[in-house]
Structures are given as C-alpha cells and as structure tokens.
Symmetry: C2
Subunit: 255 residues, 2 copies
C-alpha cells in the first residue's frame, strides 16, 4: 500500500470509512497515496476532470469558483474533510476549484477504487450516502445563512459558533486571517472591519486575531443562532455515538 499505516488509520477513524470492514476499506483506498502541497497551490480547477477523492489530513483548503472575472469562496476546509466527493461519485467534472491556504497533507483516493468499494459493499455505500447527505445539508445551511442574514449577522453567528467550539470562554482566537474570514463570510475585508465595529456595541472587542466577548446575551439577541442554519451542535453529535451526522465539509465549515 502506498500510504503509511498511521495515515491509513487516521483516515479510517475520522471519515466515512469508520465503519467499513477491512476488505472494503482496502478496496476503497486501493491505489491511494499521500501528498504534501505548499501553500497557495491549486489542486484542481473548475471544469477539470476529477480522478481522485481528496481527503484533507493537515492544513487548509479553499474551495472557490469564478465567472466573468469575478471570484467567490464557497468553503474553507480543515482536517479531516473530504472534498469533491460528488464529482467522484458521478465521474464528472469539478464545479469548484481547490487551492491550499497553507502547507497541506492530502490523501488522494482513486475514484475508481472508491466507487468499486461502494458497489461491492452496501454498508460502505450507505456511509458515503450519509457523507454526501451531510455535505448537501451543509450547503443548504450556507445558502440560508447568506440569503437570510446580512453581513453583520453572519459575522455575529460565526463568532458565536467559534466561541462554542473553542469551549465557550469569553475570548476566542480567529482561525484564519481576516481577509480569508471575510471571503468565507461572503464579504470584503473592508466590510468585515466595519461589521466588527458594529458589533462593538454588543460587547465584541477585537485585538488582532483575539476576539473578546463581554455581553454574550446581547450578541445572541442580534445573531439569533438557529439549529436550522448554524452548526453549534455538530461537535456534540460527533462525540455521541452516531457517526457522521452532518460533519459537513461544506461551506461555513468554520473550522
């Protein structure tokens, strides 16, 4: 096998391979290999033929798309996430481009192997369906987030989600540069600055990558987080028995 056992085990324990038996797992990752990429490397461009399923093990990756000289960020991924699974299942072209934001380690699984595993083992195929369904629902959440909330509301909810994921303390550290965060939230860096200053009324203070909260109640009154849009609860679910209920790769990974 072309990948180290440690990597294989890591993938297996943190992705939809979790419940596969050994035989199916080996079928599905047959020919897979681990690759390291520097920052700002284009892994895939829109329209490219997709031969591999990508599994991000280390680093971070931005999924984006362009049209007529405009570009937009669709998602930012952190480990462990799969991407372009849908294109692999359909043997189709990529609808998004993928670029590393940092030095990254990515496991590349041949599409043929994955599809063969799905067709030979119904339980594994079902696990892939669950992953796809989770991705789908992540996108639905993202669309709702963008169409129903303005930029300040999106930022407020993002901050509350981060706070929950970082332990609920009154200070968090932003996991991305502000300009990357702005792209993720669907706005310009300028407007992210302005959104932060609008939130100073609500007890939000910013110092570099550190963000402090002095009045979460009033911030929540503005943000009105909703389990039908935000994913505060994903972590809880993952720590419970159930495997991948919506560990979405999707937009607003907010990782």
């Amino acid at each position: 096998m072309a990948i180290r056992n440690a990597d294989a085990e890591r993938v297996r324990n943190t992705s939809f391979f979790r419940d596969a038996d050994d035989e199916t797992f080996n079928t599905a990752i047959n020919g897979a290999f681990l690759q390291r990429f520097p920052a700002n490397t284009t892994l895939l461009m829109e329209g490219d033929t997709v031969d591999f399923l990508y599994i991000l093990l280390e680093g971070s990756v931005e999924l984006g798309a362009g049209w007529k000289s405009k570009d937009t960020t669709l998602a930012i991924l952190r480990p462990v996430s799969t991407f372009i699974l849908a294109a692999v299942v359909l043997e189709s072209d990529a609808l998004m481009s993928a670029v590393t934001l940092e030095r990254s380690e990515i496991l590349m699984v041949p599409g043929d192997s994955l599809r063969r595993g799905m067709k030979e083992n119904a339980a594994f195929g079902f696990a892939v369906s669950e992953e796809l369904a989770g991705c789908y629902r992540g996108l639905v959440r993202s669309i709702k987030n963008h169409k129903l909330r303005d930029s300040t509301e999106r930022l407020a909810n993002y901050l509350l989600t981060q706070r929950a994921r970082q332990g609920g303390k009154d200070e968090i550290v932003l996991p991305h540069e502000k300009r990357v965060l702005a792209a993720l939230l669907g706005m310009t860096p300028e407007n992210l600055s302005r959104a932060f200053s609008k939130l100073s009324d609500k007890g939000v203070s910013v110092d570099g990558a550190r963000v402090g909260f002095s009045n979460v109640t009033v911030l929540e009154r503005l943000a009105r987080p909703s389990p039908l849009i935000d994913n505060h609860y994903a972590q809880d679910r993952n720590t419970l028995g159930k495997a991948y209920t919506e560990r979405q790769q999707g937009v607003l990974d907010q990782g």
Copy 2:
C-alpha cells in the same frame, strides 16, 4: 401494495429506482402511498421530523426557509423530482419547508423502507448516492449563480435555459407566475420587472407569460452561460445512455 401499478412504474422509470431489481424496488417502496394535495398546502415545515421521502409526480412544490421574519425560496420542483432525500438518509430534521404551488400528486415513501433498500442492495445504494451527488451539485451551481451574477444576468441565463429546454424557438412561455419566478431567481417582483426591461435592449420582449427573443447572440453575450453554472446540457445527457447525471432536484430546477 398501496399504490397503483401505473404510478409505481412511473416512479420507477423516472427516478433513481430505474436500475433497481424488482426485489430491491419493492423493499425500498414498501409502505409507500400516493397522496394528492391542493395548492398552497404545507407539506413540511423547517425543523419537522422527516419520516418519508417525497417524490413529486404531478404539480409543483416550492422549497423555502425562513429566519427572523424573512423568507427565501430555495428551489421550485417539477415532476419527477425527489425531495428531502438528504434528511431521510440521515434520519434528521428538515432544513427546508415544502409547500405545493399547485394541486400536486406526491408519492410518499417511508424512510425506513428506503434506507433498508439501500443497505440491502449496493447497486441501489449507489444510485441513491448518485442522486444525492446530483442534488449537491445543483446546490453548488445555485450558489455560484447567486454569488457571481447580478439579477439581470441571472434572468438572462434563466431565459436562455428555458429557451433551450423548450426547443430553441424564439418564443417561450414562462412556467411560473412572475412573482414565483422572482423568488426562484432571488429577487423581488419589482426587480424582476426592471430586469426584464433592461433586457429589452438585448432583444427580449415580454407579453404576459410569453417571452420573445429577437437577438439571441447579444443576449448570450450578456448572459455568458456556463456549463459550470447552468444546466443547458442536462437534457442531452439524459437522452444519452447515462442515467441521472445531475438531473438535479436542486435550486434553479428551472423546470
């Protein structure tokens, strides 16, 4: 079986059941029943527990979502389309509400049966994965459409897509009321009117539901349709051998 044979055959021939063997098909739709709904009936609200996969056989259905007294339309479905498949696979709550726009016939398939069929037959499970992947890609296209194009460009591309689907003639008939169309395209009815008048420069004339084209070339120069966003080619693909390459239920069904 609680549904007529004619209905069963129709579902079977036009959805992801197409390639299933008889035994799997019967397992997957066990307990299914056909139901008729009048217009403007709420089938499902956001947050509801999802017990059934819905398959729209006749009529049309709007998928939408709300937050803080705002509402948005995410998709408009026409026959034959499945919906809330992702929630069924994950045994999860609905992220969107579903409302009939006209009198509709809907086949309701128990989620248990569908999941059992997927787990018992890998080929069927793979077909469901293909359907989910197509839905996912439909959403990706929709997000790109909304984030990369302004409202006039979205309308122009919608019209070109309709024209292609209606046979490429120089007159089409809009399949929805204009206010429904506006919601589908992510704008207000007022702006749809203004967008139409901006397109009169490009040879687009409107008379009620009939839209005429006198200069498709210049309209295409504005619209710049792209196979990575629009779905002009879905029909061609469907008439070719391949089963469901992206017959998306998704947003911008544009049916």
